[in-house]
């Protein structure tokens, strides 16, 4: 089957966000900015991904997997542009919208693995898990997460320090916060307090985001 057009993907994405994650019943044609005979809508109806009820477009059961994957690709793209490429704000959103359409035919799997199967987008919305995520979980692969994602009392091994501020990283390293050391998170608020060896440290969330921890295999 031929690939969906970009515009059709955008519609699936909106439908997913509004009707599956939100509690709307279908989307108004006007809010999707399409008419009954818009090319992209026809495309989706032909595949029985969506149907029109009155003045609303509804996602059909057949369309759900495709919609879910579209949302997944969009949010992975956001992670890529915002976290890895460091493009923030509207610019980041725009770039993510461009990127998402390139993430097909296994590119999304590769990206997801590279990003270590993230579960949320930078805005905090869930990223629907792909097959690669489910596989990774079943293999019991320990996840690498930022210190901010750990719960108080949880411990793990320091995997790496993201180096956005060289001096601060050196400081942490010279204090003994080094990859390979065991770390125990003591407290998360108002500052992050953790223990490495016999020493305790406090850092703010800016720095905590840059310390990445490998969770122990359960």
């Amino acid at each position: 089957m031929e690939r969906l057009s970009e515009k059709a993907e955008e519609i699936l994405e909106s439908l997913w966000v509004m009707t599956v994650e939100g509690d709307n019943v279908g989307c108004l044609l006007t809010s999707l900015k399409v008419t009954r005979d818009s090319e992209e809508l026809v495309e989706l109806i032909q595949r029985s991904y969506v149907e029109i009820r009155g003045d609303r477009v509804c996602l059909r059961k057949e369309g759900r997997p495709e919609a879910q994957m579209t949302v997944r690709r969009h949010r992975l793209a956001e992670r890529l542009t915002m976290d890895i490429l460091g493009i923030a704000g509207d610019e980041g959103n725009e770039q993510a919208c461009e990127f998402e359409h390139l993430l097909r035919q296994g590119v999304d799997v590769k990206l997801c693995t590279l990003l270590n199967h993230p579960t949320t987008c930078p805005h905090g919305n869930p990223i629907p898990p792909g097959e690669c995520c489910i596989d990774a979980r079943q293999q019991g692969e320990p996840g690498i997460v930022a210190l901010t994602e750990l719960k108080s009392g949880e411990s793990g091994e320091i995997a790496y320090l993201a180096a956005s501020d060289d001096k601060k990283m050196q400081k942490l390293m010279s204090m003994g916060v080094l990859p390979g050391s065991q770390l125990l998170l003591v407290q998360k608020f108002p500052s992050y307090i953790f223990k490495v060896g016999q020493s305790q440290f406090a850092v703010d969330d800016m720095l905590a985001r840059e310390i990445h921890i490998r969770r122990p295999v359960k």
């Binding site: 180096a163 400081k171 010279s174 204090m175 080094l178 500052s191 305790q200 850092v203 703010d204 720095l207």
Partner: protein, 652 residues
């Protein structure tokens, strides 16, 4: 050679903060420096000396440093000593509990070709945690003298003295890093020709790590063409290794440390959590930490400094000792012998050296400042401040500071001048400027605080207005400064040292040292101020100055007499407040006027000493800007508050 013999050989103490460096210094020299349990309170380098086997040694205590590559100002100061001095021995003090973490710096010192003696301190605590250390093996592995110690009980002191007097530099065998790293280091070593304090290997590594000071040093010592070549090669290496150079070096060093420590450390049982751990957690948890802070402020500041210091002690010194026993005979004596009027005025008149200078300094200010320093030193010694720092970090970020700034701010309540000095431990220039400004504007020093609390305590509502207004202004100005000043918000990170029971001797030493430096600093200024004011009164200049200011004061709705208090305020913040006190006791001020005057005076320009330190620390330009800003803010806030209180009739 004779020159060499005349000047005593130097011993430099280095190490992380909180490992007992200053305790070692005190044990060696018998002198008093401030021993601190707060990372980064000793910025200055302390010097002392000692005699071992009839030989005189000069001892230098440096600020805490974590590695040979400096990041903070203190570390730069410490490293500078290693770069410039020619020590007989460098004593590296480390904490036995954190041997693995602190040993990398020992490696760096050895690598730099320095004559290192390693002191493994706090052995008793390590033993309590179930750690057994084989220091003989460590000594063999490292190839330098290693001494186990509990310096606060002077255990290991004799061994250290012995090691110093026996010390003979032996060539060290370099620790080998990964092959590719070694190749790059060798490349640089081959290009260095000058003569450096640090070994070429250490210099090369620091060059690759882009250490600015070392780069400057190299550009001085190498010929232009050599330097150019060196620059090209280091740039190439730094760029090629941009992704993980520092990390790789750290990891390589740790690998070496692991080898060094193999079989050195054995652990037995994990000790149970002591009470201090629990208390520490309560202090760090906002739910329990906030009440603890309130308790500390209430009992420490309000009850002890305000009640006991500014109340009981001042009453005793000023009201009893001076008024009843010291002043009458002194004044009597002076009246008999100082017949010239101007001379009598100079010594015992209204603004006289005795009356205003010595009496104020000894009877009024010293008890207040002394009790404050006692509380401050006590808290400092327990390790409470780092815990407070992490608690307020989020709030302080809003005003452009990090939690680290809590120390200068709290110290400001004791003495703003001293606090302004301590702002240099803050990491960014922006943070230092904001802290300096807030100290100058909204933090009343203890002497001033004591008098103002006494002044306003009669009218509790006035006290509330004063407190709320100052807190709001502190936050507002900080918030605006954080928006206006360019630069990024500081990042907060801090080591949290274990809580410990305060050591009586440490606390006393700290308190006395602070009181002493305060006294040495203020007494001359009090006397100086007395002379100026006396001269002003005699020549009529004082009246002129007061006339210039009086319209401003009237605009605030205050009686003209208050002007004198404001003019005095510049000489010593508390002078002004004390002046207000006299006015209030003679019933010249309404509650509203009193409140407006107290607020304006609190905000008004810092005293002479603080202003001088501001110039020294921040430069004349920034100091002048802050001065003008603070003056304008003080009077406009006073004006606003007066209008506000008149309009609402809040304190009528």
């Amino acid at each position: 050679m004779s020159d060499q013999q005349k000047s005593s050989p130097k011993i430099v103490l280095v190490g992380n903060p909180n490992v007992g460096k200053s305790v070692v210094f005190n044990a060696l020299t018998g002198a008093y420096t401030t021993v601190s349990n707060y990372p980064g309170t000793s910025v200055e380098v302390s010097r002392g000396h000692c005699h071992i086997a009839d030989r005189r040694y000069e001892i230098l205590d440096t600020p805490g440093m974590y590695s040979m590559m400096p990041i903070t100002e203190e570390e730069r100061v410490a490293r500078k000593i290693l770069l410039t001095e020619d020590p007989h021995a460098v004593v590296h003090v480390i904490d036995a509990r954190n041997l693995e973490r602190m040993l990398p710096m020992t490696l760096q010192l050895i690598e730099a070709g320095l004559p290192v003696i390693l002191v493994v301190n706090i052995m008793d605590e390590a033993r309590r945690l179930g750690m057994q250390l084989d220091l003989d093996l460590l000594q063999k592995n490292l190839g330098i003298p290693v001494i186990g110690a509990v310096m606060k009980r002077k255990t290991g002191l004799d061994e250290l003295r012995q090691a110093i007097s026996d010390y003979a530099m032996v060539p060290y065998k370099p620790f080998v890093y990964a092959h590719d790293l070694e190749q790059d280091i060798d490349k640089i070593i081959g290009l260095i020709h000058g003569d450096y304090r640090l070994s070429r290997r250490a210099t090369s590594i620091l060059l690759i790590q882009k250490d600015d000071d070392i780069h400057d040093l190299v550009s001085e010592k190498e010929t232009a063409s050599d330097h150019q070549k060196l620059l090209e090669v280091t740039r190439e290496i730094s760029f090629r290794r941009r992704a993980d150079l520092h990390l790789q070096i750290s990891l390589e060093r740790r690998k070496v440390c692991k080898q060094m420590l193999k079989d050195v450390v054995t652990r037995t049982v994990e000790a149970t959590e002591p009470f201090t751990e629990k208390l520490s957690r309560w202090m760090m948890n906002p739910l329990t930490g906030a009440p603890i802070l309130l308790l500390v402020v209430y009992f420490g500041l309000y009850k002890f400094v305000g009640g006991f210091g500014a109340g009981t002690l001042v009453d005793f010194f000023e009201g009893n000792l001076f008024d009843n026993y010291i002043n009458p005979p002194v004044v009597n004596f002076l009246e008999n012998y100082l017949t010239a009027e101007w001379l009598f005025e100079l010594v015992a008149g209204e603004y006289g050296l005795w009356t205003l200078g010595i009496r104020y300094a000894v009877a009024l200010v010293l008890p207040i400042v002394g009790t404050f320093f006692l509380v401050f030193s006590l808290l400092e010694d327990t390790g409470y401040f780092p815990r407070l720092a992490l608690l307020v970090d989020r709030l302080f970020k809003k005003i452009g500071l990090s939690g680290r700034a809590v120390i200068p701010i709290v110290l400001g309540f004791g003495c703003d001048t001293m606090a302004t000095l301590v702002t240099r431990t803050l990491e960014t220039k922006r943070e230092r400027i904001i802290a300096t400004m807030l100290l100058a504007l909204a933090i009343p020093c203890s002497a001033q605080l004591g008098v103002i609390l006494g002044l306003l305590s009669a009218a509790p509502n006035a006290l509330i207005v004063w407190t709320v207004f100052l807190v709001l202004l502190f936050l507002l100005i900080g918030f605006l400064a954080a928006r206006v000043l360019p630069g990024e918000n500081p990042v907060f990170y801090m080591e949290i040292p274990p809580l410990r029971r305060p050591q009586l001797r440490n606390v006393m030493v700290k308190t006395l040292t602070r009181m002493q430096s305060y006294f040495v600093e203020i007494l001359p200024l009090f006397l100086f101020a007395s002379v100026i004011l006396w001269a002003g009164k005699m020549t009529g200049m004082l009246d002129n100055v007061i006339n210039v200011f009086s319209p401003l004061v009237k605009a605030l709705g205050l009686p003209v007499e208050v002007t004198t208090a404001f003019v005095f305020g510049f000489f010593r913040r508390d002078f002004g407040a004390a002046g207000l006190y006299d006015l209030q006791t003679s019933g010249l001020l309404t509650v509203t006027q009193l409140t407006v005057a107290a607020v304006t005076l609190t905000l008004f320009v810092p005293c002479v000493a603080q202003f001088l330190v501001m110039i020294k620390e921040r430069g004349i330009k920034i100091a002048a800007i802050i001065f003008v800003f603070v003056t304008v803010m003080a009077f406009s806030s006073g004006w606003f508050l007066n209008k506000f209180l008149m309009a609402t009739g809040l304190l009528a």
